[in-house]
């Protein structure tokens, strides 16, 4: 592999890893508070459509990211209402949110752009090089010559680590995810913390979706989230619920997806569909090998109730 091919591979790995990183960082925070939101896929696709419609309406990709984030948040709030407000099963609620999110975005898209679905041409997020850093050989063009959403992921990973482990609020959030009863006894409002953490996750998933539409392709397609929400949840496990590790796991998955460019450069003639399967198989293998040593938040996926409102 030549230097140029290596740059192409790494750049693709980061570009494909960024939406996963954003969604997974948000999901990691939600899971740390004891909420597993399988509906993150629904937030991503809503973010993609909301981002596309916003970018069209305001003729600005940046504002598209904002509308995408809000769309992801809106979907997550439906999840919050059921899984946290009513305290019903998180897994099933999340599955419904994903099915509904894929359905309603498909319906809105077709209602707006015809049953056949015309090809959209959207304003795209332009690549911004970080002066100086983008000159570093190999990793410069791969890491520091990306869309602004990539830098958001880089900044959030250490920031969220600092929040979780070095702030009082982060400690409360982790306590809610481990021992909600004890946390409540200490005066922490369990359901409010969980709702906020999940809403934050929805916001980031929306940004991830907007990134898909506005940085990757410059268009929207039905179901373009293509399971990234589920992979993001696997990425959280691979990253052991620790934001910097989650970012690394997302980039690992991005690299697995980018392998197709790498192997094609090597002249290996494998069918396209095999490359599509590969990231999922690698993730399964990684889960099988890693998880034995990792531990999920103790109260993950368990609804919490109290006599008082909390």
């Amino acid at each position: 592999m030549s230097y140029a091919e290596a740059v192409i591979f790494l750049e693709a790995a980061v570009r494909l890893g960024v939406p996963l990183a954003l969604a997974a960082l948000g999901e990691a925070i939600a899971e740390r508070s004891g909420v597993i939101n399988i509906g993150v896929e629904g937030s991503i696709i809503a973010g993609a459509l909301g981002g596309a419609l916003g970018a069209l309406a305001f003729e600005s990709a940046g504002l598209g990211v904002a509308t995408g984030a809000l769309s992801g948040l809106a979907v997550a709030l439906v999840f919050v209402a059921f899984a946290i407000g009513l305290g019903v099963d998180q897994i099933i609620t999340g599955t419904a949110i994903t099915i509904g999110g894929l359905g309603i975005t498909g319906a809105i898209y077709r209602a707006q752009f015809g049953v056949t679905g015309t090809e959209l041409s959207l304003p795209t997020l332009s690549v911004v090089g970080i002066p100086g850093l983008d000159r570093i050989p190999l990793i410069g063009p791969a890491l520091f010559d990306q869309a602004p959403t990539a830098y958001l992921a880089y900044v959030l990973a250490p920031l969220l680590w600092w929040y979780l482990y070095r702030t009082r609020s982060g400690l409360s959030l982790r306590a809610v995810g481990e021992e909600p009863d004890a946390a409540r006894a200490a005066g922490i409002r369990v359901r409010r913390v969980r709702a906020l953490a999940t809403a934050f996750g929805g916001l980031l998933a929306g940004v991830a979706g907007a990134h898909l539409a506005l940085a990757h392709t410059g268009t929207f397609a039905e179901g373009m989230s293509a399971g990234r929400g589920f992979i993001a949840i696997a990425v959280v496990v691979l990253g052991r619920w620790n934001p910097p590790l989650v970012l690394a796991a997302a980039l690992f998955f991005g690299a697995a997806s980018a392998l197709q460019f790498f192997l094609q450069a090597l002249g290996l003639d494998l069918p396209y569909q095999v490359f599509l399967m590969l990231p999922y198989i690698l993730t399964l293998a990684a889960l099988a090998g890693w998880v034995g040593r990792a531990r999920a938040p103790a109260a993950l996926a368990l609804p919490w109730e109290s006599d008082r409102t909390g």
């Binding site: 059921f82 009513l86 019903v88 099915i99 319906a107 589920f230 496990v237 095999v274 099988a288």
Partner: protein, 348 residues
Amino acid sequence: MTPRPSRRSVGEPVLVALAAVAITAVVGAGLLWLGGFDPIEAAGALYQGAVGSWTTFTSITLVRSVPLILTGLAVALAFQAGVWNIGAEGQLYAGAIAATWVGLTFGQLPALLLIPLVLVSSSLAGAAWALVPAVMRVQAGVGEVITTILMNFVGIHLAAWMVHGPMQEARGVFPQSDAISEAGRLFALLPGSRLHSGFAIALLLCVVAAWAIRHTTFGFHVRATGASPEAARVAGRIDTGRVILLTFLISGAVAGLAGGVEVSGVTFALYEKLSPGWGYTAIAVALLAGLHPGGVILTGLLFGALQAGAAAMQRDAGIPAAWVGVVEALTILAVLGLDRARRVRQRP
């Protein structure tokens, strides 16, 4: 935590289901109206497309309900044991691939041998697909929600690879396999309609499962494990790991059979997008049925009618068929909400 079939009376789950359908209809109509569509026109098109005539009912609605009943049964059985099998979609594809391969490879066998062989191989493939997440859960403690979903994507892409590569039709034009041997095709159930005997197989399996879950030791173990794995293990001395593994495999086999029945009864060949997401709709089918295998027949028919009607809705009323996803989500959420309300009311 989980919706489980009430054992107090039969009437209550039925009431919950009816109320859930009513809520879904009202909210769904409201959303359609907000989207600028006429809900009355939509309902008319839906009705016409689903049960407008005897032919549409038997050849479209009933035919579409078969994979929904089977995958719904697969999900209901798994959920009863507390196994979160979200992987019926991938298991269905595994079954469809196996059924197509057997139907093509052993085409010279007589129908009496080939049809059972096709169906059994699809079940085995579905069970094998479920084995990976099952072993990962029982041996390594990896939650099955994510692993079954990941296996779905592997299955969908595997089927796509098959019809573009090793199993592509001899002409090599379209991404589909050759048609399986006549001898591998399910018999027609009603003369003059497209309804095949897979419908009877689905009904039979539901009845058998309903009996087994109620009246066999294993069925009791499944319910006990689902109600509380701790209690089942400690007080009931049940080997819950074994129960979980077996239920997972049975669930996978039933979902795999759905793929085999679809190939053997409807498409006669493997296609890239064979399933429009039946494995996910199955979750709504199972929950609306209160996880009762017998109830799955009714809710499977309901969603079969919905899918048949949605196609007509898109064609005649210009409403995107993607609305089906919204309706499914509303149904699941309505069941969850009503189940919650019921438990609050029952609390002492």
